[in-house]
Point group: C2
Chain length 490, copies 2
Amino acid sequence: MGNRDRTRPTPGALSPDESPQVADAGVLKDALEMIDPRVASGLRDIPPSAMIPRERALATFRKTFADFGFVPIETPHIERMEVLTGKGAGSDEVLRQIYSVTNKGGEPGELALRFDLTVPLARFVAKNISELGKPFKRYAIGSVFRGERPAKGRFREFVQCDFDTVGTESPLADAEIAQVIHAALSAIGVPAFTITLNDRKILDGMLQKLGLADRTARILRSLDKLGKIGRDGVLKELRGGSEEGEVAGVGLTDDQARGVLDFVEAGRGGVEILGRVEESLGSLPRAAEGIANLRTIFDLLGAAGVPSERLRIDLGLARGLDYYTGVVYETTVDGWEKFGSVASGGRYDNLTRLFTDQPLPGVGASIGLDRLLALLEEAGWAKGASTTVPVLIPYFPGADPRHPVALAARLRASGIGAEVYPDAIQAGKQLQYGSTRGHRLAVIVGPAEQESRSFNLRDLATRQERKAIPWAELETVIAEALGMGSGAGR
Amino acid sequence: MGNRDRTRPTPGALSPDESPQVADAGVLKDALEMIDPRVASGLRDIPPSAMIPRERALATFRKTFADFGFVPIETPHIERMEVLTGKGAGSDEVLRQIYSVTNKGGEPGELALRFDLTVPLARFVAKNISELGKPFKRYAIGSVFRGERPAKGRFREFVQCDFDTVGTESPLADAEIAQVIHAALSAIGVPAFTITLNDRKILDGMLQKLGLADRTARILRSLDKLGKIGRDGVLKELRGGSEEGEVAGVGLTDDQARGVLDFVEAGRGGVEILGRVEESLGSLPRAAEGIANLRTIFDLLGAAGVPSERLRIDLGLARGLDYYTGVVYETTVDGWEKFGSVASGGRYDNLTRLFTDQPLPGVGASIGLDRLLALLEEAGWAKGASTTVPVLIPYFPGADPRHPVALAARLRASGIGAEVYPDAIQAGKQLQYGSTRGHRLAVIVGPAEQESRSFNLRDLATRQERKAIPWAELETVIAEALGMGSGAGR
């Protein structure tokens, strides 16, 4: 294949220089029936009107992560199956949703599409930690794939924005993750949101005190459903099991079940609730550690200027089973809690346990881009637009097209995006194109203006037009009309 | 599955709330042997040192595309197989490189990973053109997948940056594609490059004149190899075939073969060579169209301020077989031609022919991000760095960590990225971390400075240190030290 250019292949014939037999493919294709241009089930296209706010959010997140010293990495969309499924345990569940990938010459079952960015991070870090050094702070933004049943707003490919600090147990790293969530959501203009924190060690301590440490995983799984099935539902599960017989039940006594629930339900509020918790659990070293850690995190977030009304403790917050071991986070947008958490994560003792004996603790979180954008859209906080340029320059019928091309180049050079309409169709239709897509101004150079080296400036919203402005004033007049000051930036 | 939070799943257990049997997965896993953390064959991780210039380039490209009025779209990485393979002809070749994708419940062979961004564009446009309107100018940046034999610098997943104008035949759109290539490469700091243009109609005319129109595809395929196998190699192919018997041969007479080659070899230079071409082919309507089109493109590019030394005509440039029908582009970096084209494309009569009867002409190009970055790296033009923040604030042993956290927050608020080291290890090691990664300055607050509400500012390159600067002067002093003027921007 040698130096074959990969920048722009011929579709339908990947290797033109190696496939003489398909020289007439185009002719053959025309004779075939048309192909339905639909996407595969559970997947979607993202049109410009949704992509423009999406790219704006991603650029903001990248800048936020970078401002805290997180650096980007990228791992392939395709991983070796055993990296994703862990060679055994848990793989039934994973295999049910995983997309396996095969190419000619490959064995089926060898490769798969990643279903999150955490497993690839673990693999990457296990492989490279000696060169990376500690702490390693990385962010990663990319598509992940899960073959779930499609549903409204739930797609089989979606984007995660992860940021993690690996190789330190410091509470500064814990606090920083919440600080980044705060900075990122503030920067994209979410007006009010709540970051809920807990430390898994406190839950562990409480269960230890009640003599239930051996049933931690199943109890936490039930507690995570509190929002969904309510106090009574969870009580049923914690005791003998639900009456519908769907859930096995954890087998707690009535007192134990109520004890767990009372503790959790009283454990919601600001940092002040930790005093009460300390009284009941402070003598257990593990719980005391968790309490002290949450206190330090709140202290540091205060020093960082994160307003205390953005922060909340919920001692029932567990987030998953055997993975998180310290602080955990969830973030809901005030008034839009029904969307669930838009940024979540926590601390883990050993990210890389599948790949290396060297334990690597870390802490991180993930912003759910698709969910967040759906929320912004529904809340009316997304600024919709179908264009990213403020200025349209029509190709006026009968005029020399070099003038719009040259004027647009001047605008771009001064930092103002400008689009030239490519066809000399009726001017009204060109202006219509601009108003439909959201261009704000049109710079019009007809044959008469061309003669006098001037342009008319039309506001596409108000339809008002200023006539005969000299070309020399282009940048100044446009910058002023866009409210930009002296021609800089957009 | 209901409202399960997808923002941060437990790895190794996709649906914790549905898989009680894996509650002890972690324990089981620890007992298993370790998994090799390598990537699949032909794939790669991109570490921070490569990602930082990569993201810088992508941000520049996005801004460039947007400044011309191209809007972003995104299509899934997974497409229906028949969309990619076109239901029949050509699919042997495609299937050889394609990654097929299957999930539980899906039929094997139904889905596949996209191998370029052009077929998905065609599908998207065919489906949505009535809402999109014409012209539709889109860019798309994303990974594509080809199961080729791995080789140095060639990966099975790589990124394409495509931009296309669909729904117009205007030469303004043709010229604009070259203008965007010029703007994008200039913006990322490529010092000198050459955009080579041709119009396929001129080649068609020449072959028509020689009576060889029926063998166009095979002749063009040979001509595309001129750079690789030289004049003699191409001559052999065009005549009876190569003596090694590898190539079937096109079967031209010696005169015809020489005629084709002479035409092509004389057809390289600036726009002035079109005069000569017009003399020999101007009477053929199709060739005349191509000549006029190239002239207009050069005119418009001149008006747009693209320097003529960046532009070149090569009448032998064909780029693929039956796809391009008008102007074609290739771009090489001066002195680095061995890397091949870093930005290529052309005009096509009918993008959507597989999906709809409505013909949709268009023109576009693709920047080969991976190739371009490899070139920048090898040429020493990439500014390497392992951090994106200029300032490191150590957590000085014995000092209160709230001070570094608060100072870093102030710097970020004034637009200066700052990283706080999370562990109170020996200060020298923390500074070492900074100099290794490329932080420029360290803001040091030890117990003494904490007392006097001051900091020491250390230049991590020169190791010079300014002592006892009051906290109040933080933003001003740092901005000045970074050469940023009054605290704005980075």
